[in-house]
Amino acid sequence: MIKGLKKWRLFALMTALTVFLAGCGREEISTLIPAGGVAQDQFNLLILSSVVMLFVIIVVSIIFVLAVTKFRRSKLGEDLIPEQVEGSAKLEFLWTAIPIVLILILAIPTVYSTFDLADVSTMDVQAEEGDGMTNLTVNVTGKLYWWEFEYPEHGIVTAQELVVPTDERVYFNLIAADIKHSFWIPSIGGKLDVNPENVNTFYLYFDQESAELEDGVFYGKCAELCGPSHALMDFKVKSLNSDDFDQWVADMQADEPAPVEGALAEEGQEIFEQSCIACHATSGVGASGQVGPNLATFGDRNRVAGYLEHDEENLKNWIADPQLYKPGNLMPDAESLNDGEPFSEQELDALAAYLMGLTVEE
């Protein structure tokens, strides 16, 4: 019996410990581990408001516990008729005034921060030599379960993986091509909706190079219900230092087709050019508005279809039956791309080999 109790205690302790350790989540996605200036501001507001609210909770709890323990009928006797107190103007004033003060404490940083985070006035200012600002703008288009990222100043476009420089403001223009979405990179900063009728603009600031993270990328999410695969409308963010970023832009702009290595990959390229190229571009030079995600950087990516492990097996499964992995997405099924036949194992292998070779980073 006692032994059982001990085990139970140990178990409870272990559970509590695990819960505590898991308390902040993963650095790739948790708002509790901010990796950018915007998220840091918001985290500070979270801490400030939590402290204020904790104060409220403690005050309420003390009165509450005292009230329900001191005035139990079992202690006071069954027949006691308490004094019928009407109220107290002093107390009413007190608990009106104190909350107003608390709210003022919260209101000032709220208003300041609301305007600060919405300030995109410098967006179109030409960067001056030496001020460290490039005022990079990324045009983001949300589409049914994938994201397109256009860099209008550089004339390049990519999909599913946002690449950004660290230590400078990056401006985003958001618009939806179909259904309303919401653009969210939790550890970098709060979200903004991606509306179909208007461009929404805001900025984010990336403090940390994503290469330092365990998974090498920050995780981005769609936060507005947009249909069956809303849950899977993920994207990844690579933040590079400004030299690496410039290099990446140059590589994208160079538009040298990646060398196709091996007979299998060559076969894959042939199939790709027959069946896939109508929707998927393999060159990073271009503008937004492409039918399917741009695949110029496919080999460099972290995930297949935004959320599956980045390996050939998943890639083949995905091509063979996209609806199984992202229900409701707009990629045609294999049969309609391949003259009514599903892709054979050999063809899938070839396509996978080809696609994994599409890279600009090496």
Binding site: G25, T31, F71, R73, P82, G87, E197, A223, P228, A231
Partner: protein, 628 residues
């Protein structure tokens, strides 16, 4: 028409309930149907938690999950919480103000049947090609793209039941304005009546924007209008505004009556008058007023601009002040009282910390820049469940225990009641507390699944585990109801012993005319005043015993609602183009509705009189039963 009719056949009972215009019977109808939809919504909630208990679960498909999630929210708000509150309003408010019925008994019945048929229509979508799947908020771009008839079921079902709510709102407002007993001034009204009054005013002003929004949606989907079609110049943000202009007050429509129930409970079970009654009333009005000025805090991330966001942030924070006033007044009601922890009081006591937790996270979300992180994450899910479950549902469960004797004349078992309470309370915190952290760790809401190893696995498992407790608590409540009604131990006027307001001066359940003589109200808590003065007759009366007028029952409300129900099918399928019978169905349905309206207006319905002799007989029988 006489209460002396003793044993009735089953069919007669059914007919009685189909035609009743008695607010107490309509209350029972609301309680049963609202309770049924609560169970349906609860099953949907369990499906959600099963699906999310582990990463990559395939228990529900993506499409099905979205339907379940949408119907859970829609059912719980429109078909469970509102009707259950209307059940208590109907059962208690006319008694609390000393009225013989509501102002419009016929419309009261019509409101109920509209709600019920709307609810049934909405739920039939499960069996007729798929439920709505765009969330209870039904945002326009997604709703317009949704295939099948799910969204049409949502739009038509909510239109019908929305009219029911609007009717109920007007009815209670007029009842409270016009039909208070002599001496019952506004500042002597019990808090539950006050909160009903304010909530009804909110219904009156909040439902029309929803109806307008839904009409736009119907016209867009069915008749080629372009309100939300961006390519044709439409704008989907209009839907968001209309929905939340309704949606935020809706939250107060739910929580204010729950506040009212708790206020009654704190006073009764502390055996003490409400501390700061006038402050509580003023806070109620203020909350209702603010409720209309804060809707855009649901839209901080829409891109309305910093000025709008800042204004709505400040307005939202301001609501915390009157809400805090309420919390402290309740605490001070307990303070210095003689507190008895019977089941209703357990819920009321548990409500304070639960709702405070939900309230403070609300203030956090009012901080617009912080809300950019919290919005549409699981933090929001945690917050509104703390408010809705920790406030409204606890209030409903408390109200069920508190008013059960007044509605049915029997007492729910205390021990089973406490089991329900503890299971539900523990389960509730287990399920939802952890979800705050899921949201902060980056988990968006309304996801049908999640990829493992993002730091969310354990917390989701805990949340799903907690849901089991809540389900167990509700099952025990059902068992409790069955056992209580089978045992059928009758109770007297004031079963809790410390009733303060007029309803406790009446037999449980009260006779169909409520008060044989209209009571005279001599202050706040009139029944308590009479008790303290040792009044043997229970009350002081404002009139001598005499004849009075009562309304006739009618089947017309049922038939009218049925007609709209039928017509909705016709309207929906007519637009498929390949179903020629649909037009006929639409016409038949409308004929039924307008025909019964015609009958109603052509046939004068003047009611009947209850005679003094009958009343005397009732009173004599009551005394011999020992219930007076």
């Amino acid at each position: 028409m006489s209460s002396t009719a003793q044993k009735k056949g089953f069919g007669a009972v059914i007919w009685d309930y189909l035609t009743t215009v008695d607010h107490k019977k309509i209350a029972i109808l609301y309680l049963i149907s609202g309770g049924f939809f609560f169970l349906v919504g609860g099953v949907e909630a369990m499906l959600i938690r099963v699906q999310l208990m582990k990463a990559g679960n395939d228990f529900l498909s993506a499409g099905t999950y979205n339907e379940v999630m949408t119907m859970h929210g829609t059912t719980m708000i429109f078909l469970a919480a509102m009707p259950l509150l209307l059940a208590f309003m109907n059962a208690i408010v006319p008694l609390q103000i000393g009225a013989r019925d509501v102002a419009f008994p016929f419309l009261n019945s019509l409101g109920f049947w509209l709600f019920l048929f709307g609810g049934i229509f909405l739920n039939l979508s499960w069996f007729m090609g798929g439920a709505p799947d765009a969330g209870w908020t039904n945002y326009a771009s997604l709703a317009l793209a949704s295939e099948g008839h799910g969204i049409d079921f949502y739009a038509l079902g909510l239109t019908i039941s929305g009219f029911g709510s609007l009717i109920a709102g007007i009815n209670f407002l007029v009842t409270i304005i016009n039909m208070r007993a002599p001496g019952m001034t506004y500042m002597r009204m019990p808090l539950f009546t006050w909160t009903t009054f304010v909530a009804s005013a909110l219904i009156l002003l909040a439902f029309p924007p929803l109806t307008v929004g839904i009409f736009f949606m119907v016209f867009d989907r069915m008749f080629g209008a372009n309100f939300f079609d961006v390519t044709m110049g439409g704008n989907t943000i209009i839907w968001e505004h209309l929905f939340w202009i309704f949606g935020h007050p809706e939250v107060y429509i739910l929580i204010l009556p729950a506040f009212g129930i708790f206020s009654e409970i704190f006073a009764i079970f502390s055996r003490k008058r409400l501390f700061g009654y006038s402050a509580l009333v003023f806070a109620t009005i203020l909350i209702g007023f603010y409720g209309f000025m804060v809707w855009a805090h649901h839209m901080f991330t829409v891109g309305l601009g910093p000025t709008a966001n800042a204004i709505f942030a400040l307005a939202t924070m301001a609501i915390a002040v009157p809400t805090g006033v309420k919390i402290f007044n309740w605490l001070l009601t307990i303070w210095g009282g003689s507190v008895s922890f019977q089941t209703p009081m357990l819920y009321a006591v548990a409500f304070i910390p639960s709702f405070t937790a939900g309230g403070v996270t609300g203030v956090m979300q009012a901080i617009a820049p912080l809300d950019y992180q919290l919005h549409d994450s699981y933090f929001i899910v945690a917050h509104f469940h703390y408010v809705i479950v920790g406030g409204v549902v606890l209030g409903l469960l408390a109200g069920t225990h508190l008013y059960w004797p007044k509605m049915f004349g029997t007492m729910l078992s205390e021990s089973l009641g406490k089991w329900t309470f503890w299971l539900f309370f523990i389960g509730f915190h287990l399920t939802f507390f952890i979800q705050h952290f899921l949201g902060l760790m980056g988990m968006p809401r309304r996801v049908y699944t999640f990829v493992g190893d993002q730091g969310w696995d354990l917390y989701n498992a805990i949340s799903s585990f907690g849901a089991i407790f809540m389900a167990a608590g509700v099952i025990i409540l059902l068992v409790n109801v069955v056992i209580t009604q089978v045992k059928n131990v009758r109770v007297g006027n004031d079963p809790w012993g410390d009733g303060r307001t007029l309803e406790w001066a009446l037999p449980s359940p009260p006779p169909y005319y409520n008060f044989a003589q209209t009571p005279l109200v001599r202050g706040l808590d009139p029944y308590w005043i009479e008790k303290m003065e040792g009044n043997k007759k229970g009350m002081t009366f404002a009139e001598p015993l005499g004849d009075f007028h009562m309304p006739n029952g009618s089947i017309i409300p049922f038939v009218m609602s049925l007609g709209l129900f039928v017509a909705s099918f016709g309207a929906m399928y007519h637009l498929d183009g390949d179903k020629p019978w649909a037009l006929a169905v639409l016409i038949i349905g409308l004929l039924i509705t307008f025909g019964s309206m015609l009958v109603r207006s052509l046939k004068d319905d003047l009611g009947y009189y209850v005679t003094k002799e009958e009343l005397l007989e009732d009173i004599k029988r009551g005394e011999s039963d020992g219930h007076q």
